[in-house]
Symmetry: none
Subunit: 114 residues, 2 copies
């Protein structure tokens, strides 16, 4: 499936999947084929598919869920506008802080088992 142009196979696969996502063939929230299926489809090793998916993951186009699959990120959760993303992260950090404080409170007041 991958052509022997100069472009590495794993980038060709990443390109292809990216195009399918941008083009809507892979809708937000939908899963990519499993890595095993992709490996067969493109006729490359599992390792190369993992590398390709890793690129998309780094780009934030896709999120992996261990045990389930790799899902196309929702446009809503991947806002083009960075300010919104930052606001989202800020609230997430806020929430984590609260939970951590609660946990610290509990552990220091009651002692905790070794």
């Amino acid at each position: 499936m991958v052509k022997h142009t100069g472009r590495p196979g794993y980038l060709q696969i990443a390109d292809d999947l990216r195009a399918q996502i941008r083009g809507g063939a892979l809708a937000p929230g939908s899963p990519l084929p499993s890595t095993a299926q992709l490996a067969e489809q493109y006729d490359v090793s599992l390792s190369s598919v993992k590398t390709a998916v890793g690129v998309l993951r780094t780009e934030g186009l896709v999120v992996g869920q261990q045990g389930k699959g790799v899902y196309v990120r929702d446009a809503a959760e991947a806002p083009a506008d960075l300010a919104g993303e930052v606001a989202e992260l800020r609230s997430a950090v806020q929430e984590l802080s609260v939970r951590l404080a609660r946990l610290e409170e509990r552990v220091t007041s009651t002692g905790h088992p070794a």
Copy 2:
């Protein structure tokens, strides 16, 4: 060198290098240590270093020149990769969430009063 938190080693290395770049310890145009050196420095395999460098390459922070080395991209030619930074924060928050949830689970279940 890499700590055994939940965060994968190759991401810790990528984080560290990214911080050095952002902090100016690795100036634009200057080369990173060779992959062999990094492998020794962080006490991981060559493969993990390659993965880490691959992340930075995907983020556009760094460019590799075959036969020579990996160079920090000029800030000018690396147009505002706030998106990359945000992506990084997102994954960090995600990872913290998981760790916190695990901790909460452990503390509440290991038998001591709420």
